[in-house]
Structures are given as C-alpha cells and as structure tokens.
C-alpha cells in the first residue's frame, strides 16, 4: 500500500469482477486513487475499461468484489454517490435537438442545483469550453470536437469531486486534445479526483499520477509512469564526449556504475544505468575525475509503448476503426 488512510482514497476497488454472458470482462481488478489525483486506466480495446467505469459510476452492478467512490459504496450507497460524480462516457452523450446551453441547463436541473444556478453554470462552462458562440445552436450542427467538449462540460456542471472520463480524447484532433488535457489539469488543480481511461500512452503519461495497465480484464501493471518505466528497465545515459578519442577511457571509468558495459554507438557513448537516482551526477563526477571533457548528457527513458510491449508481448495500438468523430463509432 501507499501509506494513505483509506478515507483519503477517492476511488478504491477490490477484486471487481464482471461477466457478460460468455465474456469475462473483468477478472478481479483492484484500483485506488487518492483524492485530488488522476488515475488512468490504460489498455487496448476490449480490455475492460468501460466496464470498470460503468461499475464505478453505479450503472452496472459488479458480479463480485467491492468499490467505494468518494467514500460511498457503489452498490449500497449508489443513490447518494450519484450527486458526487460526473461522467463523460465513451460517446458524447448530448441531445442533438437541444442547443448547447439547453443541454447543460437540463443536466444542472437534474443534479437539482439551486434555482438560477443551472443557467449561470451553463453560461460559465460554455465560455470555458470555447462554445459561447455556439451556445444557442442546436447540437446537431456541432462538430465532433464541439460535442466532446459539451459532453465534458456536462460532466462538470455540478462541480463533482470525482470525475470519470471514458476515452475523453478518442477521435479528437490534436488541438482539441491538448485543450481538453489542459481543462482536465485545471480541474485537478482545483482538487477534483479524475479517473480516465485511454488507449493513448502519451495521454496517460501527461495526465496521470498513477496508471493501471489493463489487458483482458486484469491489471497487469500499476504505478506512476516513472515506476512503470523503471519496471521495464532499459534506462540509459547518452553522453556526448568533447573528443571521441577519450571513448576507451570513458568506458573504463563508467563501467563500475553501469548496468552493462557502455558502448559507443553513432558517436554517442551509451550507458545503461543501474539505478536512475543520482546516475547523471555520478557519471559526470567519474568523467571529471578522469579528466574527460563532456559536451552533453541526457537520460533516455523507455516510453510506455516499451512498457506495454514488455508486459503483454503485444504492442498497444489504438483501434484503426475509430472515426474522426468519436461518437459516431458503432459496432
């Protein structure tokens, strides 16, 4: 465990299981997220991410295991829990025949916000999501990116302390994606706990404090992005020497602290590190002592792609079938 009192966990799940007829979608997964942090569920299509989100948002009862969100049991305290969460599902769930503003007001009224608040909140969120100009247009005239943003805005209407985002950026263009990331980071800075699912490594890497890698209904790895990368190993120092003639002496000086014998590759001295911590300082100290000039030192780290490949034996590739508009994707 991470030494945090159970009450500080905004999301905690133990041994969650769920089967659909013949498919075992979740085979007993544990999840935890301290309040105010971002937990990413990273996994390919069909891994069980949506099923986990549906259980945690009270939409689906688990077959086994238990989960608490914001301190409330997702089964026995589902009714109270719903006022504490916001959900943006995998496909933009907005009403085509209402305007953007009407959609948000409707959600605000269904959260039972005090009188006047739904309208004020709708205007505020439309502004924040860059939809003010389209506020009074019917949603059926919106682009895929605009619908996605409206959908996320709807999840934020009641300022819920825990937010669930199921593949929030799937199908978005790169600019909208970065905009959405910034919004999510803004919410977290204000203290919201976020669980997001994603098939994108860079997304988990950028947003998440903690990542649970899911494959075939199991958590196959869990930790911060750094911890996962450490687990795979393969970190190295790439050192550019002032003079290539020093290579042999440099290799001799660094060998004692390297995981494997350093080597010159493409003019770079490449040293696999044993332990990331202090590795740069120690390498620089040793080279200085040996009187070898250094031009550049960089720590090169494996990506989450490498992590996934190592853990599962297959690469993590988002589905080719995803269209430009996430909400259009159908089976």
């Amino acid at each position: 465990m991470r030494g945090i009192a159970a009450s500080d966990l905004a999301i905690e799940a133990e041994g969650l299981r769920k089967s659909y007829k013949d498919v075992e979608a979740l085979c007993g997964i544990d999840l935890s997220a301290p309040a105010g942090t971002v937990l990413a569920l990273l996994g390919p299509n069909g891994a069980g991410k949506t099923t986990a989100v549906r259980i945690l948002t009270t939409l689906l009862p688990p077959d086994g295991g238990s989960a608490r969100v914001a301190g409330l049991d997702v089964v026995s305290e589902a009714a109270q829990l719903r006022s504490q969460i916001g959900l943006a599902g995998q496909y933009a769930a907005v009403d085509e025949n209402l305007t953007g503003a009407e959609n948000l007001e409707m959600v605000g009224r269904l959260y039972h916000l005090p009188k006047g608040e739904p309208r004020a909140r709708a205007a505020e969120l439309l502004e924040r999501f860059d939809l003010s100009d389209a506020a009074d247009r019917l949603v059926r005239t919106y682009s895929g990116g605009m619908r996605r943003r409206l959908d996320l805005a709807a999840a934020l209407v009641a300022r819920p302390p825990v937010l669930f985002l199921d593949e929030p950026t799937t199908g978005l263009d790169p600019r909208s994606r970065i905009g959405l990331w910034e919004t999510i980071e803004g919410r977290v800075a204000e203290g919201t706990t976020v669980l997001l699912t994603t098939q994108y490594l860079d997304e988990a890497d950028r947003l998440a404090d903690s990542i649970s890698v899911i494959d075939h209904g199991r958590v196959i790895a869990q930790g911060s992005s750094d911890e996962l990368k450490d687990q795979v190993g393969g970190e190295r120092l790439d050192i550019t020497l002032e003079s290539k003639d020093d290579a042999e002496r440099a290799i001799a000086a660094l060998e004692p602290i390297a995981a494997e014998r350093p080597a010159m590759i493409d003019g770079l001295l490449r040293m696999p590190v044993r332990e990331r911590k202090g590795a740069i300082a120690e390498a620089v100290r040793r080279l200085n002592e040996a009187g070898i000039g250094i031009d550049d030192v960089a720590m090169r780290r494996p990506t989450l792609d490498d992590v996934f490949l190592t853990l599962t034996g297959h690469a993590l590739e988002p589905d080719e079938g995803e269209g430009a508009d996430g909400e259009e994707a159908e089976r």
Binding site: L87, Y91, A93, D95, E96, L110, Y111, H112
Partner: protein
C-alpha cells in the same frame, strides 16, 4: 428537498426536453397530423360505402374507433426516443445523475400526452368536416377526450417497454406495429363485431380495444354504454401500471450494446 418533489421536477424537465424536439425536427409532426387525417379520409371514403353499420352513418361509427387506434400508436415517439437515447449514451448519463429513476420514462410518456392532444384535435376537426357529429352532452364529450388521452398514455408505457427492449429505433417501431395493429383491427373499431367470423368475434368481444371503442361511442354518440366506460378506464389504468413497472425495471438495468 423531498424525493417526490424532485421526481416531479425531473419528470417535467425531461417532458420539456421531448416537447422542444417537435418543432425542431418537424418530420415527427407529420405523424401526429397528416397521418391521422389520411386515415380518417381513406376509411371514410374508401370503406365507408362498403361496411354496413346499422344505426350509424359510417363516419360516425368510424371516428371513435380511428381516434382510439391513433392514440394507441401515439406512444411510438417514446419508443423511438428511448431507443435513440440508449444508443447515444444519454441513458448512461441520466442513470449516472442523482435524478429520479422513473423520470426519463415519465417525462417522455408525459410529453406524448401533448402530441396525442394535437392528434385528437386534428382528427376531430377533419372528422367534423367529413360529416361526423357529436350526439352527447358536453360533459360526456370531455370525459371521452380524457379517456382517449389516458388510453394513449397507457400505450406510451407499452412503447417505453418496447423501446428499451429492442436493439434499434427501427426495430422498436416495427415491433410496436406488429403487436398493436392486429389488436386494433380485430375489435369494434372499424366494423361491427357481429360481422366477424366466430373465433375472431369471440376474441374481439374481450379485446380491450373493443371495450374502449364502445366506451367512446357511448361518450361521443350516446350509444348504450353497458360496463364499457368503467371497463375502459380500468383497462387503461391497468395497462399503464403493468407496463410502467416493467419499463422502469428494464430501465434500471439498461445496458448499451
């Protein structure tokens, strides 16, 4: 805040949502107006001369029956809408909100009363132009309209259940037609029950459509009522109650797929 107060306010919010859609996607409006007009005119002028209705002009005999049939189909909007909400993930969103569990369905069925009212008004106007005349005190006519809307409301719940049970909006619509169409024809709606062959006649006599149509003839035309008026209200309330229960149960477990 009371649970009941919230349930009522949630229902109204969602009914409003459904009603807003009508002027915005006017294709639906055709089915509340043009379609009933077409039915009245076709039946009155195509079959009118061929069907013997002792004691009544055919248009007088026809109107109560055809309005009842139209009411029973008014709820298809609910089936269509729910099935779409399910497909688009809106049902997921609603179910994740701290709102009343029945409100999505109650809101839609309530909105159907609005659209059914449009149909009833349209049909009465067209009927009167085609020669229909009321032969009953105003209070009975008003009671008849209330019964029509109540019966339509009951079928909105039937359609709610159908919408949540079928795999696509199209499927829900055709399922509705397959179930309800035969029921309306094997009843006293379009021909006198006595003119049917034995087995059909036996069925038609106990068919709730016959009971409701007979009640309507009593309330609009002063025909002998027997027990039909109480029977009609009882059937309407019974159908609404049973299917409301089934539909809400289904909604709570709704799974998008």
């Amino acid at each position: 805040m009371s649970g009941f107060g919230n349930a009522v306010s949630d229902t109204l919010v969602l009914a409003q949502r459904s009603l807003k859609r009508i002027p915005r996607a006017p294709d639906l409006l055709l089915s509340f107006t043009v379609q009933p007009i077409m039915f009245v005119l076709l039946f009155a002028y195509v079959f009118g001369g061929a069907i013997a209705t002792p004691g009544y002009d055919y248009i007088d005999f026809l109107m109560p029956g055809i309005i009842v049939q139209t009411m029973s189909f008014g709820g298809f909007v609910t089936a269509l809408g729910l099935s779409e909400d399910l497909k688009k993930g809106l049902v997921d969103r609603f179910r994740s909100l701290p709102m009343s569990r029945g409100a999505v369905l109650a809101g839609r069925t309530l909105a159907d009363i609005g659209t059914n009212s449009i149909s009833v008004a349209t049909m009465i106007v067209v009927g009167v132009i085609a020669g229909f005349s009321f032969d009953a005190p105003l209070a009975h006519i008003v009671a008849g309209i209330v019964l029509l809307l109540l019966f339509g409301y009951a079928f909105s719940w039937v359609f709610a259940f159908i919408g949540l049970s079928s795999s696509s909006p199209e499927a829900s619509q055709s399922l509705g037609f397959i179930v309800i169409f035969p029921l309306t024809f094997v009843s006293s709606a379009f021909v006198p029950v006595e003119s049917m062959p034995g087995a059909l006649q036996a069925f038609a006599e106990v068919n709730p459509f016959t009971i409701v149509v007979d009640a309507m003839r009593a309330l609009f035309l002063g025909a002998p009522a027997g027990n039909s008026i109480w029977g009609a209200f009882a059937w309407s309330i019974g159908i609404a109650a049973v299917f409301a229960f089934l539909a809400v149960t289904k909604y709570k477990r709704a799974v998008v797929r």
